[in-house]
């Protein structure tokens, strides 16, 4: 590789025309370290100079582009170069003459369009979601008439993935939340001498509210994102199309097992997590308030009506159903590129958590007179 050089200046006796003499390799690799310098030097000389390219040993399209732009896209009047170099520059000249179509610039109207599209997009999402849910209902009706077609293996595999494998992390989170909640409440209760109310607070709070919501957030992040990503990658790799081509319904084969598995697994996870959280609270109450385990367990069923447990489990099932539906909805909307995959996975988790909290509020209103003492 010979280093490129350029010397531009008024040569002796050649009148007013400055002379530019280029030598060496004018290639991207050779020019890269000093591209700015050459760009400026050439631009200063401009198209009017007398150009001597005879010393150029190699010229690639980057070198040619540099020259062509320095010449303001016109051949200089005084150019000495052999045919090969002229051909290389000629190629860039030919394509630079008809530029590529540009993506349109972003204007104010576009901003309004984007805003409108977001609104319409929401309606579109809603419609898609309803369609998916409806399709699932039809599938279930069909499967009830043809019990042999239930995708039992997929359901069982999904159940293991979203349920059994989530138990350790759910237990860890539940235990710590139980400990923290119990500790903070104990500090306040002791001030009022109302120590034993810790059982009411923990029991009601965890069984009815915290357990289901906590597990939902965990599962939305853990399993919801996985479901969206899986369906999305299947779209990118055309596996979804392959399934359709085989005449296999993607809702029966992919969506239904996930929805069924999560709807069944979530109440169990809620039960498990609430139990561990209560245990954590119990440990903390024993340490802080010297409340015995026996007393705690005796008091719990008396102060927390069992209806709360049913509400908690029902919430779990509904939350599981919504998370799975939302995840599959977004998974099936992925377009075959990585950007869309990441957008939809994010949207899936955020929407699932939002939907869970919304449904939780509805539950709170609908069950406001059930299971609360007094």
């Amino acid at each position: 590789m010979r280093a490129p050089t350029a010397s531009c200046g008024l040569s002796a006796g050649s009148g007013a025309r400055p002379e530019c003499r280029l030598e060496g390799d004018w290639t991207l690799r050779a020019l890269a370290p000093r591209a700015d310098e050459f760009r400026r030097l050439l631009a200063r000389a401009g198209q009017g100079a007398s150009w001597k390219l005879d010393g150029v040993t190699r010229l690639d399209s980057f070198g040619a582009t540099l020259l062509w732009h320095a010449w303001r896209e016109q051949w200089p009047e005084d150019l000495s170069a052999d045919d090969e170099l002229r051909a290389v520059i000629g190629r860039i000249a030919a394509t630079a003459a008809e530029p590529l179509p540009e993506a349109r610039a972003f204007t104010l109207t576009d901003a309004i369009v984007v805003l409108g599209a977001a609104l319409l997009g929401f309606a579109n999402h809603l419609a898609g979601f309803v369609r998916l849910a409806g399709q699932l209902c039809l599938d279930i009706a069909y499967l009830l008439r043809h019990p042999g077609d239930w995708p039992l293996r997929e359901i069982s595999a999904n159940f293991y993935k979203v349920g059994a494998k989530a138990t350790p992390v759910a237990a860890l989170v539940g235990f710590l939340i139980g400990v923290v909640l119990s500790y903070l409440s104990a500090l306040q209760l002791r001030a009022f001498g109302a120590d034993i109310y810790i059982v009411n607070i923990l029991g009601l709070g965890i069984v009815r509210e915290l357990g289901p919501v906590l597990v939902s957030v965990l599962v939305a992040g853990r399993s919801g994102s996985a479901m969206t990503a899986q369906l999305g990658v299947m779209r990118v790799t055309e596996e979804l199309d392959a399934l359709s081509a085989m005449g296999i319904s993607r809702t029966v084969r992919l969506v239904l097992p996930k929805v069924v598995a999560l709807t069944v697994a979530m109440p169990l996870l809620v039960l498990w997590t609430s139990a561990v959280a209560l245990f954590g609270g119990m440990v903390s109450a024993w340490v802080q308030l010297d409340l015995g385990f026996g007393f705690f367990l005796d008091t719990l069923p008396r102060v927390v009506p069992v209806a709360n447990l049913y509400i908690g489990l029902a919430k779990g099932a509904v939350f599981g159903l919504s998370i799975a539906l939302v995840a599959c909805h977004f998974g099936l909307r992925v377009r075959p590129n990585t950007e869309s995959l990441s957008t939809n996975t994010t949207a899936s988790v955020v929407s699932a958590i939002t939907v869970v909290i919304l449904i939780d509020a509805v539950f709170a209103i609908a069950t406001r007179s059930i299971g609360v003492p007094g």
């Binding site: 890269a32 399209s61 582009t65 394509t95 590529l100 179509p101 590129n337 950007e339």
Partner: protein
């Protein structure tokens, strides 16, 4: 510098678990050559190509590019070495989130040397080089046909003005017409840009039309490495079935008739 081989493999051994894929491979590719690497499916051609570009490292043996060991020198030097070759992956490997023009301009933009206007003109030039319409510039990879994907991937491989071009199954999945056109394109670019080309193929049409030398990968090593004519005369079951089968003879006759 220019007399050192562009690629030099010495004693390459590769194994995946208990599966010994390469057992002592030596190969050296001189500047300006077009070498076809042929071999049965699963004989380790792609794996060897991945060694050459440093995506994987062999269990034993050494890979040198442009006269220097592939992993020698500082990080900067290694990166500079990587910019001297372009690769066309078997499935194109276009960035699915970028459109065609952005895909081709991507390596240039990453250099931080080329101005946006220059990138625009260079992308237009590369598109023209691979004989694609300027209007394809705004399409997304998912909207391209198989042949167009290969062309765009080739344009991207050429973006950094490489001296060495590595092609993995450049014509697999193309119909015969497209495949012939693509081969013709690679040949003209090779002549125009004075490229060294290594191509993996088991398409005999491609091989007959393009290569100056043929390396046969079989029985875990390079069985023969010679010009096309010499390779044809070789006495080995693989060569016999590959070149002298009915199909192979016809392909070679076709390419002879053309040139």
């Amino acid at each position: 510098m220019s007399d050192a081989p562009v690629i030099e493999l010495r004693g390459i051994v590769t194994r995946f678990g208990s599966n010994l894929v390469h057992d002592g491979i030596d190969l050296s590719v001189a500047r300006g050559e077009v070498v076809a690497l042929v071999g049965g499916s699963g004989s380790g051609k792609t794996t060897l190509l991945r060694h050459m570009i440093g995506l994987t490292r062999p269990a034993r043996g050494e890979v040198s590019l442009f006269g220097e060991p592939l992993f020698s020198g500082s990080l900067r030097e290694q990166r500079a070495r990587r910019r001297r070759f372009g690769v066309l992956f078997q499935h194109g490997a276009l960035f699915s989130a970028l459109n065609v023009a952005e895909n081709i301009g991507f390596p240039l933009r990453e250099l931080h040397v080329v101005t946006p206007k220059e990138i625009r003109d260079l992308v237009a030039l590369k598109l023209a080089m691979v004989e694609l319409e300027p209007s394809t510039a705004l399409l997304m990879p998912a909207e391209l046909s198989g042949g167009m994907v290969k062309r765009v991937a080739l344009a991207r491989a050429l973006a950094l003005e490489p001296e060495l071009l590595l092609l993995d199954e450049p014509t697999a999945g193309l119909d015969p017409d497209r495949s012939a056109a693509f081969v013709e394109l690679v040949r003209s670019l090779q002549a125009q840009l004075e490229l060294t080309v290594v191509l993996v193929t088991h398409d005999i049409d491609t091989l007959a039309a393009l290569s100056s030398k043929v390396a046969i990968l079989a029985e875990r090593r390079i069985l023969s490495y010679a010009s096309q004519e010499k390779t044809m005369e070789l006495d080995h079951p693989f060569v016999a079935s590959f070149f002298r089968g009915e199909f192979g003879r016809r392909a070679i006759a076709r390419s002879r008739g053309k040139t």
